[in-house]
Structures are given as C-alpha cells and as structure tokens.
Symmetry: C2
Subunit: 274 residues, 2 copies
C-alpha cells in the first residue's frame, strides 16, 4: 500500500512536520521505497516535487525538510509500486489542468478493470491504474460541466465518481482543484484538525516533537488527512469507508456519503463554504 498525506489550511502553512513523519515511512521505517511526490498549491497553480528515489534517502526530500514552502493546500504521496515500474511517470501526485485550474491527485489502493473505463481527453503518461482513474475522473467532470461549476455541484459529482471507482477495489484518494481538498476513504484514511488552543505533537515514526502553540496564530485552522495517524499524542479520527471529506480553508466543509452504512442517501453533515 502507498501512503497519502493531505493538508488544508486557512493560512499558508508549513507542512514539514507531518511530511517528515510520512517521509520516514518511504524506505526508512516503512516499505514504500518506490518514489514519492508532493504538490503545494499557490493560487490556482501548484508547485510539485517528484522523485522516484525512496523519500527517506532523497536529496529533494531532504531539501524540502530544510526549506519550508508554505501553502494552504498540499497533497503528498509515498509509493509502494504494485502496478507500473519505478519511474517518474508513475510517481504521484499526478496533475492536469481543467477549467484553468491545476488539479492534483494521489491514490492508494488497487483498481480492477480500470483500463476498461473509457478515456477521451486526458491520457495517462505512465502505466499506473491510479493515473488512469484520475484521467477518467477529469474526463467525466469535463463532459458533465462545460465550465467550472459551483463547489456544491462539484462535491456531489466527485462523490459519485469516487464511489464508482471504489467499487473496483481499494480507492483511498486525495484530489484538489485548488479551492477544495477532497479526501475519499475507500478503506483506510484518518484525519485531524488542529486549531487553538494548540499543543504539542510527537511523530510516531521519528521522535520529532513540535509545539504548535509556538508556530501558529490564534485563528489558524489546519486539517491533516493521512493513511494512518502520524502523531502519537493527538486524537486522529478514522474516516468511515465510503465517505468523501470536503476540506476548505482548513475546515471539514462537508462529509458526504452516497451509500452510508445506515442506508440514508447522500448525507451532508456540514454546508460547504466556497
């Protein structure tokens, strides 16, 4: 399995602490040696770093550990290859442009039969099922909406598409159009919101500690989504399988289910704000 890390924040935020926890799992304490990548949004564009080297020994990962790039939306991924060789073209996150925005996508899991989904406009550059699923999602969005729809319309459509992909196997996913960070839990994904009063946190895999009270302002709000909890002394929430978390400005704007466990259709716990 690959590991995912996403962040949504209401102010440009340094993700180095969480990323350090993830990077240690990339060939350090974990088996995910087959490359890593991270995308930092700035407005509608994103700055991405990719490396087919293990994150734990990557020069670029070390550089990012020493030079904070502050962003309000970040998607990171470390890879344990199961389909597609170790190569730059197969290294998440993948990016494409749609409606004049950069879309970024990272995935953990396997999808059976994804190659039979028809592709029109977007074509994969590499060989992963993940990139193919991303191309299919964007094709579907493009054919459904000729121009950028409202957040609410987009949220609903992404829930539909994610649920459909999840039926093909395991689909844990992070996706962003720069306005929102979408986190779909097919099987395993946890989240945590940090806001005042801020406290200390210790990485599970690295003994590293940070006192967020010293690093943040009183109005900062940051939500982190990851495959598993990254810290030992904070309360992470396991996201329910089948749920799409919609994050905006550091907050959980909505938690959407198409087929919630209780049978209720398309529940919406909070109202999105964009």
């Amino acid at each position: 399995m690959c590991e995912l890390l996403g962040m949504s924040a209401n102010v440009p935020t340094d993700i180095r602490f969480s990323f350090a926890g993830l990077a240690r799992r990339g060939g350090g304490v974990g088996p995910h040696r087959d490359g890593w990548g991270v995308a930092f949004y700035e407005g509608r564009a994103a700055r991405a770093f990719h490396d087919p080297e293990p994150a734990a020994s990557s020069d670029i990962a070390r550089f990012l550990g020493a030079h904070p790039i502050r962003s309000r939306t970040v998607i990171a991924h470390i890879r344990q290859a199961n389909r597609g060789r170790v190569a730059l073209a197969n290294t998440h996150p993948f990016t494409r442009e749609l409606w004049g925005r950069i879309w970024t996508f990272a995935h953990n899991g396997q999808l059976r039969g994804v190659k039979s989904l028809p592709l029109d406009f977007y074509q994969p550059v590499g060989e992963t099922d993940s990139e193919r699923a991303f191309c299919w999602m964007l094709d579907q969005l493009r054919s459904r909406f000729p121009a950028l729809p409202s957040c609410r319309e987009l949220d609903g459509e992404i829930l539909q598409l994610s649920t459909r992909l999840a039926r093909l196997g395991v689909f844990n996913m992070l996706l962003s159009d720069s306005r929102s960070l979408y986190a779909f839990c097919g099987k395993k994904l946890s989240c945590l919101t940090r806001r005042a009063p801020f406290g200390e946190a210790t990485l599970i895999d690295d003994d590293r500690k940070v006192n967020f009270a010293e690093e943040t302002g009183p109005d900062d709000c940051v939500t982190v989504v990851a495959t598993g909890p990254l810290t030992s002394d904070e309360t992470w929430t396991a996201i329910k399988p089948g749920a799409l978390l919609v994050l905006r400005e550091g907050r959980i704007a909505a938690t959407l289910f198409l087929e919630p466990p209780g049978g209720q259709k398309h529940s919406r716990e909070r109202i999105p704000t964009c």
Copy 2:
C-alpha cells in the same frame, strides 16, 4: 525580455554549467528577477521546478546547482515580467499533457492580440500571453491530429503555428513533447552543439570554467539553445529569425522555415530521425 535555455542530448546530461550561466542573469548580473523555472524530461514525463523568486537568490536554484539531475531534454526560463504579476502561475515553463505525453513550453517576447485567438480545451491558469499562446498551440495540434502524428507531420505543424504567433510580435520559444525539442527564433536565439573532441568552456557571466573532455563520453552529443551565448570561448551560432530548429538526440534534426529570407518555401536542411 526573458531568457531561454534549452538542451537536447543523446545521453542523460548534467545541465548545471549552462544553467549556472542563466541563473546569474536572474537578478544577479541581469534584470530577470521575476521568477524562473526548469523542466527535466525523463521518458514521456518531466520533472519541473518553479520559483517566483529571483534565480540568483533562490534556494531551489541553489539546490539544483548542487544536485545534478541528468536529462536528455531540458527547458529553462528566467522571467522579466511584462504581462502578468510575479506569481507561480505566471512562471515558465508551462506544462500540459497531450496524447499521453507531457508538453513543456517557455517563451520570450510579447504577443499583441493573443487573447483574440480562440481557446477550446486548454485554458491558462495564469495571466501571461505566453501560457495563452501555448494553450492555443496545443488546441490546434489536438484538433489537427486525433492521435500522436509522425515527427515529420508534427514538425511541419509546429512551424506553421509558430510562424503565425510570430506575426503577433516577438516569439522566441522552446517547446518539447519529450521526443523533440523545438526552438523557434522570432528575433533572438543562439545555439551550439558540443561533441568530441570536447574542450574547455568559460561562462560569460560567472568566470566558471568546465572541461567537457573530463565530463563526457566520446559519443556524447549535446545541443544547447539560449537567448544569447552563455560561454565566451565557444562558437555560438545565431539562429535566423523565422527558423524552427528541431532537435532530437542532441542533434539538429531539421531547420525549417516557412518564409525563408531567400523566398524558398518550407526548406528542410536535414531529415528528422524519430
């Protein structure tokens, strides 16, 4: 004016020497303080670094100066903003996917009326005329060829599109689909091929010297294209305005003119090889 640097090589090649010459002009000895970017191809994918900071003082540029990323096709750009604010979204090179390949584009010059060119599929993320011209070129290629055409067909179409854009103002451009590096000279562009016997070279802006005989193999062949000569002791050739240089595997595969100075139509000096 911005400055361009492109490289085509028949083996993965370290471009740090030439890039150091370019980066010095980015806020060091030159006026190009408004960001820089570089894309390194690996197969059909490219690894890009962008920074809206001046190249001469950029942490990422310093990192790249210390860590060689070897590639056979590289496009780099340093920016002096004339249209579009200093921002990541306005920082060249721009990238998009077409026919399952990453396309990369950097431009130097101004284009009058580029906003009146119709766009269909590709939309700019930033506000530059350059990104708009790139989107228009890819739209035109996509509508002309439903799938990847032969190199020869593509060469001819890119010559047509470049010549049309050059009529709008100044259009010095580097473009790649990973197979070929295209360099169109609207006004100012120089090139240089390095092959055995290799000698020494000294950067104009940096006093830095390299002995390529120590860095290369006997069969290596590298062609560099830049806005102006980067070294003082090598023979750079000024590309003729209106010419499209097609570089493959480090060699000039073709030099194409739609409207050559002598009146001869669509001359082809060499045969492309892909």
